[in-house]
Every structure is written in structure tokens, then in C-alpha cells.
């Protein structure tokens, strides 16, 4: 019988820095083959959790298992790829030298070929000869991701990997992430504040607040949880908003200038109601809230 092993399994993880409890009884499960979006406010404990998984800071309690083994097991640790905060590169060395150092550290056979492969993956092969300190923020981030990909790791732990990337860089990263997990044996734990980008690739989510996991779900569950709304535009936006506000419980205007009605209703009802009040609807559509709005709702205590 096949045993279902998770890539990461955390139970009751705790960590405090002096009097401040950074992580408090955290439970977390990253299944094999998942891109796990790890979300939370600044200071919620994401980076601390990731550092503990990587063995960079001692835990204050609880257990961490990677592929069914204790996280301190050297053999399982050798299969990790990591980018936490900033890429760990020597500023005075070239990108190539930094990559070769990490390849030597990982004892990768045919190191040169492997370095060329990962640099090509992140479209950095042309900048291999540049000194690391002369690279732009986006380039440094790409080097960090390339370094994490060295040696074909089975578990990638990435902390804010999309920071500083341009649109093309983000697209490349999406392709890289989906390519990595396609055989179902590799997993990625990625934290990011760019929730829109994260939603495009993540298969699972974990939302952390004040060091506690407040929600864990799959992308399908998120989709089911996200409320639908009707967005519309009329010739008289202010009067429409006022009229709709009298009839429906939650009516808001979004950044794009649409009035959103979150209550359970249909476009036909809204058009009829506004028409009866002498207002013509010029544009109307139904949509669902995204991860970002879901997250904000959750942080504000919504469901």
C-alpha cells in the first residue's frame, strides 16, 4: 500500500525571541507536488518558520518533518533548494564564481553544465561574468533563484522570490515553478506579498497570523470560498451607489471605478432595479474576489 508522505509536515512549531512569540504552535502541511503559497502580514512569522525549516535557527518546540524524516537529517537536507531574504552571494565574486561555489558545496557532478542550465532557466546566462555587486536588484533575485535550483532540489523554500522581478521575470518564475512540480515529486514552499502573482501558480495556501496558522486550503477550496460579486457602471455612479446601498448590504466602489455588489443577486435584478429608478446600466459583469481580497477579508475578520 502506498504511504502518503508530505513534503513538509509541521506540528506545534514554536519560536520566541526574548519576550516576543514569533511562531506559536504552528501546524502546517505541504503535500508532495504542491506549490504552497505561504501568506501573512509583515512580522507574522513566515520567514522565521522558513528559517526553522531550513535549520538556520533553532526551534523553540514542536516538530518539523521533511519527506517523513526529521528536518535535521543531513540526507534529506541535501535535497533542499533555498532562497531566504537575499541570495547568499559574495559581492566581490562574479555570478559564475558564486554559482560554482554553491555547485561545489552541493557536490554536483558536471558543475559547469548544471550552472549553465540554471542560469539559462532564469535568463541570466549573459550576465554570468558580471560581479555580483554590480547586478541590479532583479538580477540578484534571479541569481538567488538559480542558486536555489542548482542540483535539481526536491523541495524549494523561497522567501519573497518575486521581489524586484520585472514582468518578464515573474512570467519566467511562474513557468519555472509549474515545470518543477509537474512530475508530482517536487514541492515548493513560497512566501510572497504579491498575492495576484501567487494565485496564478499556487496549488495550496497557508495563511499565518501572529505566528499561528489561521487557514490552510487548496486552490480549489479557495476558489469555492471566494464570493462572487456583480460589478457595474452606470451614467450616474453616485446616485446608483446610493440606491444600491439602500437595497443591498455590501456595496463598494473599486479602484477601477466599478460599483461592486457582493450580496447574492443577479445582473438582471440589478439592471431592472436601477432601470426602475431611471438609471441606465452601461456595463455589467459577474466576477469572483481574488486571493488578495479574500486575504484582506480574512485579516479584517471576515469569512
Amino acid at each position: 500500500m502506498a504511504v502518503n508522505i508530505n513534503a513538509i509536515e509541521i506540528k506545534g512549531l514554536s519560536k520566541s525571541f526574548g519576550a516576543k512569540q514569533a511562531v506559536c504552535g504552528l501546524d502546517m502541511t505541504v503535500p508532495m507536488g504542491a506549490i504552497y503559497g505561504f501568506i501573512g502580514e509583515n512580522g507574522s512569522g513566515k520567514s522565521t518558520t522558513q528559517k526553522m525549516i531550513c535549520g538556520l535557527i533553532p526551534t523553540g518546540g514542536g516538530s518539523i518533518r521533511l519527506y517523513g524524516k526529521d528536518y535535521t537529517d543531513p540526507d534529506v537536507r541535501s535535497t533542499l533548494g533555498v532562497l531566504i531574504e537575499a541570495p547568499g552571494c559574495f559581492p566581490g565574486l562574479t555570478v559564475w564564481d558564486n554559482m560554482m561555489l554553491q555547485a561545489a558545496n552541493l557536490s554536483i557532478p558536471n558543475a559547469e553544465d548544471e550552472v549553465i542550465r540554471v542560469l539559462k532557466t532564469v535568463r541570466m546566462e549573459g550576465a554570468a561574468g558580471n560581479k555580483y555587486k554590480n547586478c541590479s536588484l532583479g538580477m540578484k533575485q534571479r541569481v538567488g533563484i538559480a542558486m536555489a535550483l542548482l542540483g535539481d532540489p526536491t523541495l524549494l523554500i523561497l522567501d519573497e522570490p518575486l521581489n524586484g522581478l520585472d514582468a518578464d521575470g515573474m512570467r519566467i518564475m511562474r513557468e519555472v515553478f509549474t515545470d518543477i512540480i509537474k512530475d508530482g515529486k517536487r514541492s515548493i514552499l513560497v512566501s510572497s506579498h504579491l498575492l495576484g502573482e501567487l494565485q496564478k501558480v499556487a496549488t495550496h495556501y497557508g495563511i499565518i497570523r501572529h505566528g499561528r496558522m489561521i487557514r490552510e486550503m487548496t486552490a480549489a477550496e479557495l476558489d469555492a470560498s471566494c464570493r462572487t460579486y456583480v460589478a457595474l457602471r452606470t451614467g450616474e455612479m453616485n446616485r446608483s451607489k446610493m440606491l444600491l446601498g439602500c437595497r443591498y448590504a455590501r456595496v463598494e466602489e473599486d479602484e477601477a471605478g466599478y460599483i461592486r455588489v457582493y450580496d447574492r443577486t443577479t445582473p438582471e435584478d440589478l439592471v431592472t432595479y436601477l432601470y426602475q429608478n431611471g438609471i441606465c446600466v452601461t456595463e455589467i459583469r459577474t466576477d469572483k474576489i481574488g486571493l488578495e481580497e479574500y486575504y484582506i477579508d480574512l485579516m479584517n475578520g471576515g469569512k
Partner: protein
């Protein structure tokens, strides 16, 4: 099931050393220190020989001091039987070969603190759970650097003395004693290296703290170097230094490993 690669200690240490030696070869500091170790005795011996017999007058007290240059090449390495250390003045007596034991602290401290400052330690310790590998590799890399500096200082002394036309007479000692003296110094190097490594891993990215701590701790043992590794060293001296070096490396290495395991690595 994910298959994990099993690696022995030797394999892990080899790859770790590969990284450290690659970094050493790319490090400007390493070459600067080697150049210092080679040129310092040359310049010092030549200059002191040139200044031999010159008189300096203290402008406040009017006291005249006659500067004495070296009379023998090996005064830079140790005290000859019945003789005194180089030049006879305290400043130059402090700048003999034993100074390398302190100079190597600069290399170790900056080498280790660079790992933590650059964030490279994160990459390293994520994929390497055994902190002992790191300590062992740093001690070996530091030892190689220190031994190279000692050999270069010796070469610089010979070169400087040859340029200055100094005597190479060993005053009753043999060449074997000289070789054993150098071997004893090399074997004693791990004692200092392991202290510097321990202080550096404790201070991590704080290079200034690494340096101050290392030099301070090194000074405590510095005075024993000329006593335990005299010019007339025998096999006993080498054995003692070797035992001390191994003992310190193992003991302080274990302490360094504990420090890494118990503290944050970022």
C-alpha cells in the same frame, strides 16, 4: 518516495574544502597576507642591517640610543644559543616569525565573517546539517593558510639575510633542529586556528568582534610560542605541538559546532 543522497564524512569534508580553497584562491586578502609574510622579513632584515650602528636621539631627553641590526639570519626565527632575538630591540623582537600566529587571525576572522555577512552561510547550512563539517573545513583551510605563511616567512628571512649578507651560522645547532623548529610551529598552528575559528563562529557577521576577540584570545597563548618552539627544537617539541594542536582542534572544534547548533545562523 524521494531518494536522498548518502554522503560520508570524508566526501562531505572534501566538497566543503573544495569550496573553501576555491574561495581562498579568489580572495585578495589571502594573497595580501602571503605577500606580507614573504616581504616583511625581507624588508625588516634589509632595513635593520642598513640602520645597524646608527644613533637616534630622543628630542626631549637628549638620550642617545644606538640601533643594533641583526647579526645572524636565524634571529628572525628564534633565539640562538647564548644570543638574543632579532635586532635586540623590542619592536623587532615582536615582529619575528611568531607574529604569523596572530596575523593568521585576520584571515580566519574575515573569511568566516564574510560567510555570514554575505548570507552564504544560509545556502551552506540549509543543505548541510552537520555543523562539524564547517568547523573542520575552516580549521583545515586556516591551517593551510597559516602553514603557508610560516613557510613564506622562513623563505623571506633566508632571502633578506642573503641580501644583507648576514651569517647563517646555527651556533652549534643543526639543520635538523631548524626543520624541527619550523615543523613544531606548523604543528602548533591548529591551537591558534581553532581559537580563532571558535571566536569567529560565535561573533558571526560582526567582523570587528571576531578580530578583537581572536587577537585577545590569541595573546593569552602567544607568549608560549617561542618557549615551546625554540630554534633548538627536537622531535619532542614537534610531538608536543602536534598533540596540543590536535587536542585544541578537536576540543574547540566541538565547542564551535555546539555554538553553531545552538545559535541563529542568519
Amino acid at each position: 518516495m524521494v531518494k536522498c543522497k548518502k554522503r560520508t564524512f570524508a566526501q562531505r569534508l572534501r566538497s566543503m574544502l573544495k569550496v573553501d580553497f576555491r574561495r581562498m584562491c579568489k580572495s585578495r586578502l589571502f594573497y595580501i597576507l602571503l605577500a606580507c609574510a614573504l616581504l616583511m622579513p625581507v624588508l625588516m632584515t634589509v632595513m635593520m642591517t642598513m640602520m645597524d650602528g646608527s644613533v637616534s636621539v630622543d628630542p626631549q631627553t637628549g638620550v642617545e640610543t644606538i640601533l643594533h641590526g641583526p647579526e645572524n639570519a636565524w634571529q628572525n626565527i628564534g633565539t640562538l644559543p647564548g644570543g638574543e632575538a632579532m635586532g635586540g630591540t623590542e619592536v623587532f623582537a615582536m615582529c619575528n616569525i611568531n607574529m604569523i600566529f596572530m596575523l593568521v587571525a585576520v584571515f580566519i576572522c574575515l573569511f568566516i565573517s564574510d560567510d555570514f555577512r554575505s548570507g552564504y552561510a544560509k545556502n551552506l547550512f540549509t543543505v548541510r546539517a552537520q555543523k562539524g563539517d564547517y568547523i573542520a573545513a575552516k580549521i583545515v583551510a586556516g591551517f593551510v593558510c597559516g602553514a603557508l605563511m610560516l613557510v613564506l616567512y622562513f623563505a623571506g628571512t633566508v632571502l633578506g639575510s642573503a641580501i644583507s649578507g648576514l651569517s647563517f651560522d646555527l651556533h652549534g645547532l643543526t639543520a635538523a633542529n631548524l626543520v624541527l623548529c619550523m615543523l613544531a610551529k606548523i604543528c602548533l598552528m591548529p591551537v591558534f586556528i581553532s581559537i580563532f575559528v571558535l571566536v569567529s563562529v560565535a561573533a558571526k557577521q560582526k567582523a570587528w568582534l571576531c578580530l578583537c576577540g581572536s587577537l585577545g584570545a590569541g595573546m593569552l597563548l602567544f607568549m608560549m610560542v617561542p618557549m615551546i618552539t625554540p630554534l633548538g627544537s627536537t622531535v619532542m617539541n614537534v610531538g608536543l605541538c602536534l598533540a596540543g594542536g590536535l587536542l585544541f582542534a578537536a576540543g574547540l572544534g566541538a565547542a564551535g559546532k555546539t555554538v553553531l547548533m545552538k545559535t541563529s545562523l542568519v
